[in-house]
Amino acid sequence: MTIKSFFLPFILALVAFAVGFLLLDLAMMNQ
């Protein structure tokens, strides 16, 4: 396991999922 093969996709995916969940929260916490 190298930095490129694990941590790069991990960081990218983490940012993507975090943004996705925050959008979900914003959509629900209003209608």
Partner: protein, 608 residues
């Protein structure tokens, strides 16, 4: 073969005849009830208040008693026993139907055999359900005649068709079970599956009708404040709490049915004589546990929705439920639900020993266990403590300054979502245990999985902590919905991603069914017992929050038993009922065992 089949038919006919006699008796009683109702109708008409009179105002003299019998406890235990068996016999056909369809799709006969064995267990339970239903009906009529008369006048149509539906259900069940080996292959198999669908439609409709009667007693509709019925039967059926109860019970019944057949498989596993039998019942126990967990995961959401709707209908009832006398029973409930999650996970971890590749994942189990136990502790932390004056002084109030905040719902919701996500993670390890991925991007795939779980849990924590403690109550309750959605997204995305990572994967080796310690089977027993106890406890709470009302705000309970018993007394009644149920379930398992054993007495029958 033909002889045993004709014997089975004879038994079925006897049971059917008994059912006919019971229904005939029920109709006779119904006639009597109708006669009383007709008298009341006449009285109501003379008072010129239309066809339906107000709910009767009763005195203690209106409740017949039988010497030596506590009428409330009798109805309580009969209703609870009837419901446990009813939940079981309604749930089994649901997953038997699904398993049979899976067998037809995969053409793997093991599924067909397992489905047949599950339905065999429910046949004896079916007649016990009917017997207990008769006991409940008679005890309601004997001990609470005025209440039953009032209810029968409002629900006369649904009660009549409820009784008729039993013919449909019995006929479908008997053809489904006794015709299993006859209706095999091609078109016949489709006919058989269709009969299973009819059986499920009848069973579910029966449950929906009975739910309407009991939710009417909690949230009456279609009547004015005096209890005068406006004639709209659908309004009375479709009352405020009907659908929340329908959803919660439908899902819970499947989880409960799965746990009971899991206990049956464990019983057969522990008494199996050969390795082949052990492998068969281990596989059956695994599938039963799988069904129970699949239904258990969405269950806390359905329960939270039901409780939120009870609050929405009546704040007084809601506060009695979780802030008043019943709050401590909810702590016991939390311990039992935690037991369910821990025993289901423990069974999965033990089951990983069936495959040789599992040791790659066993090092993670201890971390899963630590998180599950931590979430479990938060899940049952009480809010208001029962304290003496000295303890109150030294604590500075009824709430502990650190543990107090963990006693309210946002902490519970966060904890249960974490428990559900980690149960899904246990499942992921179990599914991966025997596989080796062959795709080139396996490291990136695993990184995405870790990121998904990390982001999901962080979002659940954020919603629970920020909206739970730093915004107003509306947001506190509402935050539970994105929490639920986050959990569902994590589980669905994780399963989807894993299916891509393990596309064209290779197996580490054959799965050794039957290679599982006996203590895993006791975890299956624990699952069934904890479910039973939990349903008994929550059944009492659901019924008990009506307090001194037969029908909330409409019809007062003026019987000598119109008080809320102490928590210990109620817990004892529920526990006695649970032990009675377990004894009857052991009888059902034993009957299923006896039906396959033969004795050949040497020299008893004359030769030739």
């Amino acid at each position: 073969m033909n002889r045993s089949r004709s014997n089975k038919f004879r038994q079925a006919l006897i049971v059917l005849a008994l059912a006919v006699v019971t229904v005939a008796l029920a109709f006779l009683v119904f006639d009597q009830v109708n006669a009383i109702a007709a008298e009341q109708d006449v009285a109501a008409e003379t008072a010129a208040t239309g066809n339906y009179g107000p709910a009767p105002k009763l005195t203690a003299a209106d409740y017949p008693t039988i010497a030596g019998v506590n009428s409330r406890v009798a109805v309580w235990i009969f209703a609870q026993l009837h419901l446990w068996f009813a939940a079981f016999v309604l749930a089994v056909p649901i997953f038997v139907f699904i398993i049979e369809a899976i067998g037809m799709r995969t053409r793997d006969k093991r599924y067909d055999d397992m489905a047949y064995e599950f339905i065999k267990v429910s046949i004896t339970a079916y007649s016990l359900t009917a017997v207990l239903g008769g006991l409940l009906l008679f005890s309601l009529i004997v001990f609470y005649p005025q209440l039953f008369t009032y209810m029968a006048r409002i629900f006369k149509g649904s009660m009549f068709y409820y009784a008729l539906l039993f013919f449909v259900e019995s006929a479908a069940l008997y053809i489904y079970y006794y015709g299993w080996h006859w209706l095999q292959g091609g078109f016949k198999k489709w006919v058989h599956l269709t009969i299973g669908l009819v059986l499920n439609a009848a069973g579910t409709t029966l449950m929906l009708l009975a739910n309407a009667w009991l939710t009417f007693m909690m949230s009456p509709a279609g009547v004015d404040p005096a209890g005068v019925f406006n004639g709209d039967a659908w309004a009375a059926i479709n009352n405020f709490l009907w659908n929340p109860i329908n959803i919660h019970r439908f899902v819970a019944n499947i989880a409960y049915g799965g746990s009971i057949v899991g206990a049956y498989a464990a019983f057969k596993f522990l008494t199996a004589g050969t390795q082949q039998e052990r492998a068969h019942y281990d596989w059956m126990g695994y599938n039963a546990n799988f069904i129970a967990i699949c239904a258990l995961l969405p269950l806390p959401f359905a329960g939270y929705y039901l409780a939120a709707e009870i609050y929405a209908y009546s704040q007084q009832m809601g506060i009695t439920l979780m802030g008043g006398i019943f709050a401590w029973l909810f702590i016991i409930q939390a311990v039992l639900i935690g037991t369910l999650f821990l025993s289901a996970n423990y069974y999965l971890w033990c089951g990983m020993g069936r495959s040789d590749g599992a040791r790659r994942y066993t090092k993670y189990i201890k971390y899963l266990a630590i998180v599950l136990v931590g979430a479990f502790l938060v899940w049952f932390t009480p809010h208001t403590l029962v304290l003496t004056n000295e303890e109150l002084k030294s604590l500075g109030g009824p709430y502990h300054k650190i543990l107090g905040p963990l006693g309210i719902m946002p902490a519970k919701n966060t904890a249960v979502n974490v428990m559900i996500i980690f149960t899904a993670l246990s499942f992921m390890f179990y599914r991966r245990a025997n596989k080796t991925a062959t795709v080139s991007w396996v490291n990136a795939g695993n990184a995405i999985q870790v990121a998904l779980y990390t982001a999901g849990i962080a979002n659940i924590m954020f919603l629970g902590i920020y909206h739970g403690y730093f915004t107003n109550t509306v947001y506190k309750v509402a935050a539970s919905i994105p929490q639920v959605l986050t959990t569902l997204v994590v589980i669905a995305a994780s399963i989807t991603l894993d299916s891509f990572i393990y596309r064209r994967s290779t197996d580490v080796g054959p799965v050794h069914w039957g290679r599982i310690p006996a203590r895993a089977q006791y975890a299956l027993f624990l699952l069934a017992v904890a479910f039973t106890w939990l349903m008994g406890l929550m059944g009492y709470i659901r019924s008990g929050i009506r307090q001194h009302w037969h029908i909330v705000d409409i019809m007062r309970d003026t019987s000598p038993d119109a008080f809320t018993p102490t928590l210990g007394y109620a817990a004892n009644v529920v526990s006695v009922a649970a032990i009675l149920f377990m004894a009857m379930v052991i009888f059902v398992f034993w009957i299923a065992q006896v039906s396959t054993s033969k004795t050949l007495p040497a020299g008893y029958w004359k030769e030739g």
